[in-house]
Structures are given as structure tokens and as C-alpha cells.
């Protein structure tokens, strides 16, 4: 059974000051089974973030609908956890309180709440930083907290919008392994948006590529690399072959996106 069904979802942004409306996303179909790890890969402006925001309920589709476990998505909710590219920890809450935000909002009992929070703080390796303010943490640690905050809420599906986009290369590699490790142990339906081809291949069960202006799904590529995946897999011939293929596909789109600005 499919956990998430995207049925003919499109998005048109109204024209600014009477200008022509912009079609950001062509009617899109996609089905994602339970515990799948899908990465959405595309150049900027291909509508991948728009699609993710529609799934999250932060944006409304112009046509079509999104079904999560058979229920139509009408707005944002705790069943879809989201990690943003920008650092969105609440700066007035400590790390521990940030992770507890969703649980508190849903009225989970104190004792149970802190047990869940502490277990996720352990999982993302932030023990010892529970009582720090977000500002005192590095970008990578802040994004780890954001992942813990989303997961602690027990969502059916985890949505990530270029979560490691602002991090340096080394930190990004470590974060990929951390997230993949959590997914391998706990199983979860994940949609991960990125413009980094290597990241898309390394993380995914399936890579969905999107083309630019207007955005639409161009291809779906299964990734059959075995789990648990170690970072050394990035040097394997299978990985290189996938990367080369996707690079070729995305390159054309990036050229289109760059020339039509």
C-alpha cells in the first residue's frame, strides 16, 4: 500500500502586478510506498521545493491532491515532519526544549515526553548539548537538532528540503551517514529534496529527477546499492555509473534553467 499518493498536483503562482501567471509545477503523479527513501533531484527553479511544501501542507496545489495514508492533505500537521534548509530551531528554546516542541504542542505527558526527547537527542549525538541555545551550536549540530525535533514527533513521513545545503562538504557527508543510519535502523518514509547528485544517489532507494520551467518529473531511477551503506560506497563502480547517468540527465536541465534564468 502506498503511504503517500500525489495525484495530478500542479501549482501556478499568480502574476505579479497583472503579469502572466507562472506555472511552477506541471500536473505531477508520484506514489511512495511505506518506508521508501525518495530523493528529488533537480536544478533550482524546477519546482521540487514547491512540491515538498505542498506535501507538507505549507502551500496549496492549484490542481490535484496529496493523499497521506488515504487521507487528503489539507494543511500542515504533525503527521508530516519537516526539516528546512534554513536553520529553523526556535532560538529562545534550548536544544532539549526544541526537540520537545511538537510533543508539548500535542500534549504528551511530561515523563513520556522527556524520555522520547532524550532518546532522539542520543540518536543524533547531541548528548551534553541539551541545555545550549541553538545559537551556540554549529550549523551541522543545529540541523541534527532539527532532524531530532521532526522525528521525536513520530511523523508518518519525513520531508527534508535541502537540509544540508548550507553545510560544508565534510559535515554534509557525516550528516548524510547519520540520517541514513537512523533510516536503516528505524525505517521511515522519507522524501529528501536536493540539488546534489551524489547526495541524491547515496541516500535514496529511488531518485526522482525533475526538469525545469515548468517543473515536472523527468525520470525515476531505482538505486540498488546494498544497506547498510557506508560512505565508501561512493567510490564503487555502481555508484559512479548512477552518478554519471544522473549527471547527464540533470546537466541538460541545468543548462535550460541557467539560460532561461
Amino acid at each position: 500500500m502506498n503511504e503517500l499518493v500525489i495525484q495530478g498536483v500542479s501549482r501556478t503562482f499568480p502574476g505579479v502586478r497583472g503579469g502572466t501567471p507562472t506555472l511552477a509545477l506541471q500536473p505531477t503523479h508520484l506514489e511512495i510506498p511505506r518506508n521508501d527513501f525518495v530523493t528529488i533531484l533537480g536544478p533550482s527553479g524546477c519546482g521540487k521545493s514547491t512540491l515538498l511544501r505542498i506535501i507538507a501542507g505549507l502551500d496549496r496545489p492549484t490542481t490535484g491532491k496529496v493523499l497521506l495514508a488515504g487521507m487528503e492533505v489539507k494543511g500542515p500537521g504533525a503527521d508530516r515532519g519537516m526539516v528546512f534548509q534554513s536553520y529553523t530551531l526556535f532560538p529562545w528554546l534550548t536544544i532539549r526544549e526544541n526537540v520537545a516542541f511538537g510533543l508539548r504542542e500535542r500534549g504528551v505527558a511530561e515523563k513520556e515526553k522527556w524520555e522520547i526527547v532524550d532518546s532522539y537527542i542520543d540518536k543524533v549525538g547531541l548528548r551534553g548539548f541539551e541545555n545550549h541555545w541553538p545559537k551556540q551550536l554549529s550549523g551541522g549540530m543545529q540541523q541534527r537538532t532539527a532532524i531530532a525535533r521532526a522525528l521525536a514527533n513520530g511523523p508518518r513521513i519525513l520531508l527534508l528540503d535541502e537540509p544540508f545545503g548550507a553545510l560544508d562538504n565534510q559535515t554534509r557527508g557525516l550528516m548524510q551517514e547519520l540520517l541514513l543510519g537512523i533510516w536503516e535502523r528505524e525505517q521511515k518514509t522519507v522524501i529528501f529534496v536536493t540539488h546534489d547528485i551524489e547526495e541524491a544517489v547515496f541516500m535514496a532507494n529511488r531518485v526522482v529527477t525533475m526538469s525545469a520551467r515548468p517543473g515536472r518529473i523527468k525520470s525515476i531511477t531505482p538505486v540498488d546499492l546494498p544497506h547498510p551503506r557506508h560512505y565508501t560506497v561512493k567510490a564503487s563502480p555502481e555508484f559512479s555509473e548512477l552518478r554519471a547517468r544522473l549527471t547527464e540527465e540533470i546537466r541538460g536541465e541545468a543548462i535550460v534553467a541557467a539560460t532561461h534564468g
Binding site: 494543511g75 508530516r80 532560538p91
Partner: protein
């Protein structure tokens, strides 16, 4: 102490240097004043010298019960200001959070903000007499619209991504207001209150210049009749000192309450 001052744009300076420079200007100011008056460059009729001012101040406090006037003025400022804050802060938050409320109130508040509080004094005397209520109302009118508008602007400018993060964590509309919009803007709101409290001091003196029988402003207008410029200056300086103290208190309280901002 040697004050090594290296002037470069935006270059921070040592804490001790900062304090020394701050005090230095006060010293220079009093020095210039002393030279102008004691040196005979300015007639004492128009400007008392610092020593006369101090003597007048001691006289005011010991013989004229000026401490009571100071107390009255502080109570009026605090009373009017607290009254204005209690009404304005929630209204400002509601305006910033909900666009229909903003659309309803923003034009009126923007208009009312420019109504000079001092011009209301005659009307308020007509409505509320010359008692304490009239003094509080002058400050209330002077402060309430300013606070509403500034709080509304701060709340409306809350980072969208924080609000969206809260929604994806299962927060409802009320939760977003209570647990994101308010805490995110609490330091700004405190800073707005600190600023407006400073303005409230201007209004209270204006309120006390007309129809008052106590307060620092009342003393000042009385001293004018006596040509006692020393007393007037002492009164003005007392206001400045109280303002400085309340400003310091506000700042250090904000630092304590909103440690996350400075972390």
C-alpha cells in the same frame, strides 16, 4: 589609566575604555557649563552655574519636599505607562498576527499616533479634571498608539520559516501565536517598551506644567516665576538621572530575561 583608542570603523573597544569615555563626556559637559557661567560669559539670570544648581537642589529636597514631587512624577509615568502597555501590547500582538485586525485598526492607529499628547491636556482637564486621572491619561494617550504600532510591526516581521516549522510540528493557530510569535518577539517588545518609557517622561512634564499642584513639572513652572534657573536645571537633571537609571534597569532585566539572544 592610558586610554589607547584605535579608531577603525566598527572596531570594538574595551569595556573599561567604553565606561571611561562615557564619563569623560559628562565631565567635559559640566566643565563647559562651569566655564560659561562661573567665568562670567553667561548672565546668571539666564543660566545658573553648576554650584548654584546643586545648592538649589539641596534646598529643594531638604526644605521644599521635592522628594515628594519626584515620587508623584514617577508614579504618574509608571501608572500611565503600565496602563498603556496592558492595553497596547496584546492589541499590537493581535494586529501583527491577524491581518484582518491589522486592516481594521492600522489606519486609525497610524493617524492617532500623530495626535500630540500635549494638545489633549486642555480637553483632558475638561473631561477628567485636574486630578491624577488626567495626568495618567496624557501619558496613556502619548504611549498607547506608539506601542500598538511598533509591537504590531515587530510581530508581523516574525521569521516565516519559524512559523512554518511550528505548523509542521503540529502547532495550531493559537499555539503559533502563544509559542512562536510572542516568545520570538518578546525581546523586541521589551525594547519598544524601554523606548516608549523614555517618551512618557516628556509627556508627564507637559501634563504637570498645566493644572498640577505637585510633581517635577510643577516645580519647574513655579521656579520660572521665581527666575530660579538653578532649580529648573536641577529638575531637568533629576529627570535625566531617573531616565538613565530606569534605562539601565530595563536593559539589565532584558539581558536576564532574554539570555538566548546574547548567547
Amino acid at each position: 589609566m592610558t586610554v589607547g583608542i584605535d579608531m577603525q570603523p566598527l572596531q570594538p573597544i574595551r569595556h573599561s575604555t567604553r565606561i571611561a569615555l562615557g564619563i569623560l563626556f559628562f565631565v567635559l559637559f559640566f566643565l563647559a557649563w562651569g566655564i560659561a557661567t562661573l567665568g562670567g560669559f553667561v548672565s546668571p539670570t539666564f543660566l545658573a552655574d553648576p554650584i548654584t544648581m546643586l545648592n538649589d537642589g539641596i534646598y529643594l529636597i531638604t526644605a521644599q519636599g521635592f522628594a515628594y514631587d519626584i515620587g508623584m512624577t514617577i508614579w504618574r509615568v509608571v501608572g500611565g505607562f503600565v496602563l498603556a502597555s496592558i492595553i497596547a501590547v496584546p492589541l499590537g500582538i493581535a494586529m501583527g498576527a491577524y491581518k484582518p485586525i491589522e486592516a481594521l485598526l492600522e489606519p486609525f492607529v497610524s493617524f492617532a499616533r500623530y495626535l500630540p499628547a500635549s494638545a489633549f491636556v486642555p480637553l483632558l482637564i475638561l473631561w477628567a479634571g485636574i486630578g491624577e486621572m488626567q495626568k495618567l491619561l496624557v501619558i496613556f494617550i502619548g504611549a498607547v498608539f506608539q506601542i500598538i504600532l511598533m509591537v504590531a510591526v515587530a510581530v508581523a516581521a516574525t521569521r516565516r520559516d519559524l512559523v512554518e516549522a511550528a505548523y509542521t510540528l503540529g502547532a495550531k493557530d493559537r499555539g503559533v501565536v502563544r509559542r512562536v510569535l510572542i516568545p520570538a518577539n518578546a525581546p523586541d517588545i521589551a525594547e519598544i517598551l524601554r523606548l516608549v518609557l523614555g517618551w512618557a517622561w516628556t509627556y508627564v512634564i507637559v501634563a504637570e506644567l498645566i493644572g498640577a499642584s505637585s510633581g517635577i513639572g510643577y516645580m519647574i513652572i513655579n521656579s520660572q516665576a521665581l527666575m530660579a534657573t538653578g532649580q529648573i536645571i536641577f529638575g531637568i537633571i533629576v529627570i535625566g538621572v531617573i531616565g538613565l537609571i530606569s534605562d539601565f534597569a530595563f536593559k539589565s532585566l532584558n539581558r536576564k530575561l532574554f539570555a538566548w539572544r546574547l548567547a
